[in-house]
């Protein structure tokens, strides 16, 4: 539907809010002059409010480049990125960013790491501490607030990193393989926590991953990318039964293996 369209002369329909993130005919080329390496070629993508969209692609297909272009850390060579309808000029507000590396500051305790973003914005320390505290409790880190990262396990560190991202209440989360270095059980638990928190608070998520099962079990839509130069090969709307914050239930859903098999075929790994 087009924003502001009238339905047959009756009551005007309120304009549909712009989706959080739109990428249109995006291209990115590295190098200058003689040696041009096209990484992204003609990629269009929409992230609707409150949805979780996953991007899967063969390794080395420029997923991380795409994410950096989307959040303004890299300038695109062609096309346009729009956040809430506005062309991207600098780092967009209200975006949380989370990587495979937890990037915790070793000189800060768990809670001080979570407070980092609020501190940067100039929020009073007591209020920031309170909000960080609540979030750490929700993520099962009660009692670990004053621990330094070096004394936490990989799963706990990644949970602190998740809290550090969520405490700023970003409307959109850009996640770049945040669970890739975790063991299977820990991964399922943290994926579940993420899905629960994000869906309860109606945040939008763009998840980049190479894990097909993770993509299917977490997302509303899975976008499959091609080899370089990257285009969109296919896109699946995921419909699964049951609680969407339960990663095990998602896997037991009858459609689950069907999606995984189709996406695997699209990835075309065998012939690469």
């Amino acid at each position: 539907m087009i924003a502001g369209e009238n339905n047959g002369g009756g009551m005007p329909v309120p304009p549909l809010p712009e989706p959080p993130l739109v990428a249109e005919k995006l291209a990115k080329t590295y190098g200058d002059g003689e040696a041009l390496i096209p990484v992204i070629a003609d990629l269009s993508l929409t992230l609707e409010a409150g949805r979780i969209v996953s991007i899967v692609g063969p390794s080395g297909c420029g997923k991380t480049t795409l994410l950096n272009v989307l959040c303004g850390l890299l300038a695109p060579s062609g096309g346009e990125v729009r956040w809430y309808g506005r062309p991207l000029t600098s780092m967009p507000d209200g975006v949380g960013y989370m990587l495979q590396k937890d990037l915790l500051f070793p000189w800060r305790t768990a809670i001080a790491n979570v407070m980092l973003g609020l501190e940067v914005k100039g929020m009073p320390t007591s209020e920031a501490r309170e909000r960080a505290h609540v979030l750490l409790d929700q993520l099962g880190l009660h009692g670990f607030e004053t621990h330094y990262p070096s004394t936490l396990s990989g799963g706990m560190r990644q949970r602190v990193a998740l809290a550090r991202t969520l405490v700023n209440e970003p409307e959109v989360l850009l996640l770049d393989e945040p669970f890739a270095s975790l063991d299977f059980q820990t991964k399922l638990v943290i994926e579940g926590d993420t899905a629960r928190l994000v869906r309860n608070q109606h945040r939008s998520v763009l998840l980049i991953t190479h894990d097909i099962e993770e993509a299917v079990s977490l997302s509303d839509r899975v976008v499959v990318l091609s080899h370089r130069p990257t285009r969109i090969r296919s896109s699946y709307d995921i419909e699964l039964d049951g609680d969407r914050a339960d990663m095990m239930a998602a896997r037991e859903s009858p459609n689950f293996s069907q999606y995984v098999r189709s996406i695997w075929a699209d990835l075309d790994v065998g012939t690469a």
Binding site: L99, F105, G117, G140, M156
Partner: protein
């Protein structure tokens, strides 16, 4: 929320492995190492004493542990040991602090501008390659024969190393962490204060440990050139008079001074970087 069993186990695994040894075994190993160190020192001193006791000429040329101890007692009794150590310690400490503060501020602030840092790089290398001892006569002319010239020498021997180590620390900050700060909306000054400075502390402290010795060398060289007090002065005077054991006695005091200063720097590091001593 759930905290998996796995999480609780790996908290322990994150501790450094030697700390996992049972407490008793840890102590026994510690004492054994200490005993061996004392043993080696006793054997060395014993052989030295024995060799120099054979004839007077060897004793004259090499001193002997007993003669050194005798001079240490004598220097303690006439107050020169404490006074000289205090003077040299003061010069060293002032030069150490001054050189490190100036060097670290310059080195960290080079992080702000890649352009400026590229412009000044060759000058820093040039300054760093000057043998400090060659500057001593000029320092005496500029700052006189008192405390100031020694502090200047000490500062000079420290400042370039401090600059280079802190600059290296600032430049080796993980670019992903800088990106993280940018996505959190941090301004450059906030990235500097909240990320670059604390992240550089490890390298800065490595520099501090290195420069304790350099500061002391600078002060002693300054005293060699022209002075009326200090351990360097005592060493120079005793050497000129061929009183070898007294040279060694002053040297023992110098070593003790270096150890004390290194110990204080270690304590400061523990205090300022508690996350590395946690667990």
């Amino acid at each position: 929320m759930r905290t998996t069993l796995d999480d609780k186990r790996s908290v322990g695994a994150a501790k450094r492995s030697w700390r996992m040894l049972p407490r008793g075994r840890q102590w026994r190993e510690h004492i054994l190492v200490l005993a061996c160190q004392i043993g080696v020192l006793m054997i060395f001193l014993g052989l030295w004493e024995w060799a120099t006791a054979q004839d007077r000429q060897t004793a004259f040329l090499f001193g002997s542990p007993s003669a050194i101890a005798g001079f240490l007692v004598q220097m303690w009794q006439d107050g020169s040991l404490l006074r000289d150590s205090w003077i040299t310690g003061l010069e060293t400490a002032l030069g150490f602090v001054l050189g490190n503060v100036i060097g670290t501020i310059l080195g960290l602030s080079l992080w702000y501008s890649r352009f400026v840092s590229r412009v000044v790089q060759p000058f820093i290398v040039a300054l760093g390659s000057i043998p400090i001892i060659a500057l001593a006569p000029i320092m005496i002319i500029w700052f006189g024969t008192g405390l100031a010239s020694k502090v200047a020498m000490s500062t000079l021997s420290v400042v370039v190393v401090a600059l280079l180590t802190s600059y290296k620390g600032a430049m080796s900050v993980d670019p992903d962490q800088i990106n993280l700060m940018r996505t959190l909306g941090a301004k450059k000054s906030q990235i500097f204060r909240k990320l670059v400075v604390p992240a550089s502390l490890t390298d800065i402290f490595a520099g501090l440990k290195l420069t304790v010795g350099f500061a002391l060398i600078g002060a002693i060289i300054g005293e060699f050139m022209s002075s009326s007090e200090g351990l360097g002065h005592a060493i120079f005077k005793a050497g000129s008079l061929y009183i070898i054991p007294k040279v060694f006695a002053a040297l023992v005091a110098t070593i003790a001074l270096a150890l004390i200063l290194a110990f204080l720097v270690g304590k400061l590091e523990q205090y300022l970087t508690p996350w590395r001593e946690e667990v």
